[in-house]
């Protein structure tokens, strides 16, 4: 009888496929029951970007990517977390490591600063750390005027410090290659910074210079919110006019439409109808409007001069 080669390929293939399917199944099951291991403690045992950089040998950019992914995951996980005490403590260290490993990691600086600056609980609520990150980015990339602009922006929007904001916009304008309108933005900010109109100009500028869709749509959202605020002001004026005329608070939008003070039921820029409170006459956004929560602060409430 011929000495046959050992092993039957077909049987082997089937057994192998069955085993592979089993361990994939076990893993999916385990992840579902016990959750995936959080990129928490074990990730940050080494906090020094330098040390990590040396350890990564020539894979540093890849390791930077991995830390960026973990930062995003961490941020998303914390943000979506239902816990009332969600924490963003590790966000800055993760971003710091990412940018130490790859100092040119653009979106890490830009997104990272947004995550950090955004007020709690939507973000870390640490505009100071956002500024530190952007500053680090600029020192590593002196041609990136966008980072300086972003710093100015953090001062403006989150810290309501218009003087510093204007100073930073000016510094951004000083960077070779910066667009011409930064200078006028700086001027406007210094002169009348802190009102809706200049805020609108700021967001428009940001939208024009956005590197990617996320920033662009973020800026568009802010602009829509500003428009909503304007609209609310106008609607409030209409309600006041109705009250002056009839001595009563309008019960609904229809009343105003019937009174020919409005052409139709008003809808916010996202398409959700405004809500009129029949008791107080206050106009607000619909509860499920995507524009919620509307920004508050002097940068939007101070009337234009």
């Amino acid at each position: 009888m011929t000495a046959r080669r050992g092993g039957r390929p077909l049987v082997f293939g089937l057994v192998l496929a069955a085993l592979v399917a089993s361990f994939v199944f076990v893993e999916i099951w385990r992840d579902r029951v016990y959750g995936e291991p959080a990129p928490g403690d074990s990730v940050l045992y080494i906090r020094s970007g330098d040390a990590l950089g040396r350890m990564s040998l020539s894979f540093t950019p890849l390791v930077a990517d991995i830390y960026w992914i973990r930062a995003v995951q961490y941020f998303g996980g914390a943000r979506l977390s239902a816990l009332p005490t969600r924490r963003y403590d590790l966000l800055y260290p993760l971003l710091d490591i990412t940018t130490s490993l790859d100092p040119r990691f653009n979106i890490a600086y830009r997104f990272g600063s947004i995550f950090l600056a955004e007020s709690y609980p939507g973000g870390a609520g640490r505009p100071d750390l956002a500024i530190a990150l952007l500053d680090k980015g600029f020192r590593a990339n002196p041609a990136r005027w966008q980072y300086v602009q972003d710093i100015g922006f953090v001062y403006y929007w989150w810290m309501n410090d218009y003087r510093r904001a204007g100073e930073w916009f000016n510094k951004a304008a000083d960077v070779p290659g910066a667009p011409w309108w930064l200078r006028s933005l700086a001027a406007v900010t210094l002169a009348q910074g802190g009102d809706r109109q200049s805020s609108r100009r700021l967001w428009q500028a940001l939208r024009e210079t956005a590197d990617n869709d996320w920033l662009r749509s973020s800026a568009s959202l802010r602009l829509a919110q500003l428009n909503a605020l304007d609209a609310i002001d106008q609607l409030t004026a209409v309600v006041a006019g109705f009250r002056a005329r009839t001595g009563q608070i309008p019960t609904s939008w229809d009343a105003l439409v019937r009174a020919r003070m409005l052409s139709s039921r008003p809808v916010d820029p996202a398409g959700a109808p405004y809500v009129l409170d029949p008791a107080s006459g206050a106009v607000t956004l619909g509860a499920d409007s995507p524009l919620n929560p509307l920004p508050v602060g002097t940068q939007v409430d101070r009337p234009a001069r």
Binding site: M1, T2, A3, R4, R5, G6
Partner: protein, 317 residues
Amino acid sequence: MHAIATENLTKDYALGFWRKRPYRALDSLTLHVEPGEIFGFLGPNGAGKTTTLKLLLQLVFPTSGRAEILGRPVGDAGVRRRIGYLPENPYFYDHLTAVELLDYFGRLFHLSSADRAARVPRLLDQVGLGAERRLPLRRFSKGMLQRVGLAQAIVNEPEVVFLDEPMSGLDPIGRRMVRELMLGLREGGTTVFFSSHILADAEAVCSRVAILAGGRLVASGRLADLLAFGVKGWEVVVDHVDDGVVDRVRPLADRMTRIAERRYALELSPEVRPERVLADLAAIGASVVSLNPLRDTLEDYFMRRVSEDGHQRQVEA
């Protein structure tokens, strides 16, 4: 039942990296080895002897053809218990001593510890390694490794033993030891299949041989039969041939050479029956000192067949 049987056993190797050209290491080998005989498997280097052995031991797999050992297909699990193998240029495990190696291999045969304790020292003595049995194998010379190899080949008292170049690396004392070992095995009923390119050794022990060249079987059969074709004649040395009877002796032979005073060497042609000549010499009053066949040695035969085959190949190509 043959001890070993192959039928059109063929092995192709694929050479080359991109375009695989097949290299036929063994071409349609058909041979039989009977139980209890010493079979010599001969051929020049690269003839395919080691390939054949590996095919028989299922270290490589045949492209086509069949092979059986003791009536079972070569892959059969049970057969391995009853065979032994000495590879060419054997290497074992550096860190083990000779005793430990044989003990380990004995364990693989499921020999009991009592059996192992009895057999191992005996085998080592038999192959001449009694003194070095506790040295680690890394300190063994080639000849010593060869002896250990022989010992491990027979540790299970096999029915068939495969020896690849068993004499290699051994001094004359060692070679005699191997010869005696093989003869002893035959006496015990073991079949010995050994490959060699040292023809004198084969000539001394084999009952039958096969000659392989360029992957093909060139000749096989009993040694006596193969070499009978090459009998060139006889040489008779006679003494006490006085000058008077020289002339009566001369016509009995083709050639007569004087060796010493009254001693002559006679060359007889192959057709002449030596017994007749001896009788005639006795009648004349001469005394026979020796009678030797002048025949081809295996080497002559071998060279002839191999170069014939080489020419034939050139013609074919």
